[in-house]
């Protein structure tokens, strides 16, 4: 089958034979892939290929009809709250911040799963409570600094510009201390400068020891970013391999890049430079 890599080390995240059937619709059919440590994996494919469905399976929002997903050798639970604790975090294609919370608070919510704070202790604001809160705030501010949002920590998240909201989502996801970060179209709607900033940010995240899976329509972005790329078409893995291999594969060109012009224009942002 198509495995993303042949690394000597055991993969960090491994999906084997994942299928997801909704009624009569097979959204994912026997998808297998692996993600190594400190690896950036790109997930591309035409609209409706099942990319976001696959993310939903990884995070426990969907329970796959069949197949197994494991992180570091342990099967992931099917409850999103437990998956977060196990070390998988995500962002969304359409941003889903907590709109009426401040930027800092959004990140603090991400710390939830890493904070030990009992209901009683927080009523009486004991020393343990204060210390935990202080550490959570420190860590959250570090993350805001990391994504470049320290200046606006007090703003309500709904008032941020679009690109900043995307970065805030990333900071919030990182606050859960994931070992795998899932980014669903992180550059959608961004201008070229913001896209490049995001690319650098993803590299920095990888260098900090977090593996990243990125869904994108912008293939140029993906090929310049990822160690490996998996192409999904109609719920199945069409091709998997390094960017060079995937880029030159005639099936990919046919199924994805070689679509009629209006489709290419419709999916790529502003019909960037020809390919």
């Amino acid at each position: 089958m198509s495995s993303a890599s042949d690394r000597s080390a055991a993969p960090l995240l491994e999906a084997s034979g994942v299928s997801m059937v909704f009624g009569g619709l097979t959204a994912l059919n026997n998808v297998s892939l692996t993600v190594g440590r400190e690896e950036v994996l790109g997930l591309i494919g035409p609209n409706g290929a099942g990319k976001t469905t696959f993310f939903n399976c990884l995070t426990g929002q969907y329970v796959p009809t069949s197949g197994r997903i494991s992180l570091d050798g342990t099967t992931l639970p099917s409850d999103p709250a437990k998956v977060a604790a196990a070390g998988v975090a995500r962002t969304f294609q359409n941003i889903r911040l907590f709109p009426n919370m401040s930027v800092l608070e959004n990140v603090l919510v991400g710390r939830h799963v890493r904070m030990r704070q009992g209901a009683i202790a927080s009523i009486f604001h004991g020393p343990g409570f204060r210390k935990g809160e202080r550490l959570a705030r420190e860590r959250s501010r570090e993350l805001l600094d990391f994504v470049g949002l320290s200046q606006v920590e007090g703003e309500l998240s709904r008032n941020l510009p679009y690109g900043d909201q995307r970065r805030l989502e990333i900071a919030r996801a990182l606050a859960t201390e994931p070992s795998v970060l899932l980014l669903d179209e992180p550059t959608a709607g961004m201008n070229p400068q913001e896209t490049e900033d995001t690319r650098q940010l993803i590299f920095a995240i990888r260098d900090s020891g977090v593996s990243v899976i990125v869904i994108e329509h912008d293939t140029k972005f993906i090929f310049g970013l990822c160690d490996h790329v998996v192409v999904l078409v109609q719920g199945e893995v069409l091709v998997a391999g390094t960017p060079d291999v995937v880029r030159d594969d005639p099936r990919v060109i046919e199924a994805y890049l070689g679509k009629p012009p209006e489709d290419v224009a419709g999916t790529a942002t502003e019909g960037e430079e020809g390919r």
């Binding site: 999103p80 907590f98 603090l108 710390r111 809160e133």
Partner: protein
């Protein structure tokens, strides 16, 4: 002038009382969009639990020492209210979490009737109003001709302290943040590792504890309790929650004091006197629903698919 001041004082005391109930209404609504009509009954059972504790659990030495008896009956009332609310959430509301919204609403009305009837049947001589024991000194302050009963002062001070503590808790603690996050987007909150069941139970617990304390203080202040106090005050509190903007804690407190003042002032100055003071409260409710359905501090759009 003295009458006006006196009615203002009375209104503030009533407002403090309603605040204890309103906060629970608004928190539960904020998190699961349920108007918990049984919440008034949670207040009422707190009152009866305190009475029962006093009558049958406290030795006479403690009964006669108010500064021991008062905290004990308050804790007992709050604890019993919390117990009732947790059972209610677990067995009545949780199974209906994904049902159409009308189902839990009707369930709430059913629980309300159930709790009233349970107290009527199982509390000895429950059909008749009960004298609430004296667990707080009778005294009163008088200045400028206005009397402020000590129990009223206690009620308002407790209301201010507890609502302040609640605000602090919800705004600065991990679980408070989890509550707000769940209220805003439950699915995303779950992806952040927040277990919504725990957060919802916590919300019921906080609301019920406040209602229970309120129930006990109602008895202390008004000297008499009966099985309908929950329903009456629950409806006022509901109106206050709508007035303040349901889902908003700040709104709940402001709304409660507004309703308290409206009731006492309308009872004094509007035609019909106290016999019609309910009318004015519901006139306000109707006006709010027509002209500003989101209340003082509510959000314009709370509708979720």
């Amino acid at each position: 002038m003295v009458t006006l001041l006196q009615q203002l004082v009375n209104g503030i005391v009533l407002g403090g009382l309603l605040a204890f109930i309103t906060l629970g209404y608004t928190m539960v609504y904020g998190i699961i969009q349920l108007i918990n009509f049984a919440h008034g009954e949670v207040f009422m059972v707190g009152s009866y639990a305190a009475l029962a504790t006093y009558l049958w659990a406290l030795p006479s030495g403690i009964q006669s020492t108010w500064y021991l008896a008062l905290p004990i009956v308050i804790l007992a009332g709050a604890a019993f209210s919390v117990l009732v609310a947790v059972i209610m959430e677990r067995f009545a509301y949780r199974p209906l979490r994904n049902a159409p919204r009308l189902a839990p609403l009707i369930t709430a009305l059913g629980i309300s009737v159930f709790l009233q009837e349970a107290v009527r049947n199982f509390f000895p001589d429950g059909t008749r109003p009960k004298a609430f024991p004296e667990v707080f000194p009778e005294g009163q302050l008088t200045f400028l001709g206005v009397t402020v009963p000590a129990s009223g002062l206690l009620l308002v001070v407790m209301a201010i302290i507890l609502t302040g503590a609640l605000q602090l808790y919800v705004n600065t603690s991990k679980l408070g943040r989890a509550m707000r996050a769940t209220a805003q987007d439950p699915d995303t909150a779950r992806l952040m590792g927040i277990n919504p069941d725990r957060v919802i139970v916590l919300t019921f617990i906080l609301g019920a504890a406040l209602a229970g304390v309120g129930g006990v203080l109602y008895g202390v202040h008004y000297d008499n309790i009966n099985i309908t106090i929950g329903f009456q005050n629950g409806i006022f509190a509901f109106t206050a929650a709508v007035l303040g903007g349901i889902g908003s804690l700040r709104g709940a407190v402001v709304g409660a004091f507004c309703i308290g003042l409206i009731k006492t002032l309308a009872g004094q100055y509007m035609p019909g006197g106290t016999a019609y003071d309910y009318v004015w409260i519901f006139v306000i409710l109707i006006l709010v629903l027509v002209f500003r359905p989101q209340g003082f501090f509510g959000e314009t759009e709370r509708v979720r698919a």
